[in-house]
Amino acid sequence: MIRFDKVSFTYQESLQNGGLRDVDLTINKGECVLLCGRSGCGKTTLTRLVNGLIPYFYPGEVTGTTYVDGKDIQDYPIYEVSEYVGSVFQNPRSQFFNVDTDSEISFGMENLTYPREKMKERISKTVADLDIAHLTGRSIFELSGGEKQKVAFASIYAMSPSIYLLDEPSSNLDMDAIEDLRRTLELLKKQGKTILIAEHRIYYLRELVDRIVYMENGAISAVFSPSQFLSIPEEQRHSMGLRALDLSKVQPRAFAENSQKPILEVRNLSLFYKKKLVLDDLNLNAAPGEIIGIIGHNGAGKSTFSRTLCGLHTNCTGQILWDGKELNAKSRLKHSYMVMQDVSYQLFADTLEKECVFGIKHPDLDAAKQAMERLGIYEYRTHHPNTLSGGQKQRAAVAVSMVCRKDVLIFDEPTSGLDYDSMIQVAGLFQTLSKMGKVIFVVTHDYEFLAAACTRVIHLDNGKQQEDYPLSYDNLHRLRDFFLRSERRQNLEENGK
């Protein structure tokens, strides 16, 4: 179905890494192939050769030939390719061309000039097959990331291509949405579609993939069957920069007991959004150096809670105390800092150095230097923050918080779309901050990251604090239960039918 014949590629823009060297690979009809490897290993590039984005959208030098269905893909304009190859991308927010869901589902068909009757027929079939009746007739601005992803998928599905390309589709999804994605892929596989997925978080593909292609520096360095892959020793897998295929094998790292006295106290905190109660009667204590993971389903109030902690959300009752003194919203803004999922929103200056002291009346330049050194980004001090890598940007935001002497740090999904190495680096960053005595909260759906970085887990759901436990070896099953529950529940439902 897809064949790469000695394909090499270099991006024209030198900044883009991830070129290809001599790739030979044949993917059969109906096969599900996973491309994995470190960021920049070329897995995304490989998908772009199949859907024609290379060289049309990303110019560069191609040698060798990519065949789809026996035809050289370069001979066809990209709009003809799109009849056979459907692409789902990483960011649900930016792959929506329309502003309402119905038009979005029909978008591809409209471009391929389907007559209206046929379009309507395909839409009803798509809606039924993908079980998204509740998403029709909605505005995109009221959808969650996972729902947007589903509609984007539906738009492709309606065009009924024989090949599906997915580029890190789970990066911005929570575990329920990942489970839905898994089920959709299962359906496609049953229909005999060919699926090619480039992905870092791979556990959800365990039962689906037929082959796993491991790439390094633009070349294919190994091809595994799932059972071969599962038998790779953990240490070797880590040195390959790969995440786990089987979450039950993931171990928490051992942490020293935190003997510090609690310094942050949350008493009877209830949160409201407009007049609606979001989270009822939250109570917790946190000591300096604690790294607290906040988990919960979509809409459980995790982000409202973090925004309240930062003083950004003020519609709440109850108390938040620091060292016994009550903090109002204004002083919470001074005490705490949130590192956003998309850090670009919080970087304003034109060099990293200036960024660290931006908006401060009498900046402490020594503190800025120290912060940058401590985080390993001092050598980039004259770079524009937006030319830095994702991880460096994150560190830049953390440096800012250190210069501003913030004591409470809140991270929103700091590991979305990160490979194993980068994830471990973020865990290391948390260690540094923990040693400095910061109180760290992290909202995340990343099981492996929770296990690698957190000392404690708070579970919010159904408007309440459900659980609060230290993340020790003995407690890991509770965390796993939470992550695997939705999968199990749905499997049970299926068996019940």
């Binding site: 984005l53 068909m109 209206r116 949130m338």
Partner: protein, 246 residues
């Protein structure tokens, strides 16, 4: 300001063809700019408000109308009860805002109630070249997203003690604008890039005229709006010319 497209819950009572909307946008703006008197302008704004409510942008229209009414009251107080520099300052300010505001309102109403694919189909009908339609469409698509971006940016600014308030805009105008502009630009660039990739891989550049799920057609409503706004514009121009000559 919340832009919201007509969905199941906010169904419009009046459907206008996107071609009519484009025409109204141009003609309405000309009429507003040339409006010969305050009363005439208010009459025109009332028409825009009725239009906004009928096509389904209720909340947006009502809020904008309230601000406009405030401006008018301020203007009347300014001209009749104030003197000296304060009068000049307030009157110039309100006249300026009063001219821009209804235009923005009309634009907002029309953009927020037009489906992207309807707009593209309409542009196809009037034989606008694709090279122009696509960028226009991406723009149309990006407007409502600014609202989302704004939420994140304003959060980020508040945590850095450079909150985007009226006060900070007056005391540190350059810095405040920069804070909003830089991340907004970065986000826009990224989104535009990803959006284009997603659209291109779904055949957006097919040279054959694209079809449209919704039928677009002219109706009585289009004719009424067409006549009403053309009339307003003609009267504006006529009065202006007459005034200018006499």
């Amino acid at each position: 300001m919340e832009m919201q497209l007509q969905t199941k819950d906010t169904l419009a009572t009046l459907y206008l063809d996107p071609r009519t909307k484009l025409y109204l946008l141009i003609v309405g703006n000309v009429a507003l700019f040339l409006a010969p008197s305050l009363l005439y302008e208010i009459a025109l704004v009332v028409c825009v408000v009725i239009l906004g409510i009928l096509v389904g942008a209720k909340r947006f229209t009502v809020r904008m109308a309230a601000v406009y009414a405030g401006m008018v009251v301020l203007h009347i107080i300014g001209t009749n009860y104030l003197t000296g520099t304060l009068q000049i300052a307030i009157v110039t300010f309100t006249v300026f805002i009063r001219k821009i505001f209804p235009c923005a309102m009309l634009g907002g109403i029309l953009v927020s109630t037009t489906r992207v694919n309807e707009f593209m189909a309409a542009m196809n009908r009037i034989h606008m070249p694709k090279a122009m339609v696509i960028p226009l469409t991406v723009m149309l698509r990006y407007f409502p997203m600014v609202h989302e971006d704004w939420g994140y940016i304003s959060d980020a600014m508040r945590m850095r003690d450079v909150a985007p308030t009226v006060k900070s805009l007056l005391t540190h105008p350059a810095r405040t604008v920069e804070c909003i502009y830089v991340p907004m630009m970065m986000s826009a660039l990224k989104v535009a890039d990803e959006l284009s990739a997603a659209a291109v891989t779904r055949g957006l550049e097919n040279p054959k005229p694209r079809t449209c799920l919704q039928e677009i057609h002219f109706s009585v409503a289009d004719a009424v709006c067409f006549i009403l706004f053309t009339l307003f514009m003609s009267v504006s121009i006529w009065l202006k010319l007459k005034g200018g000559a006499g």
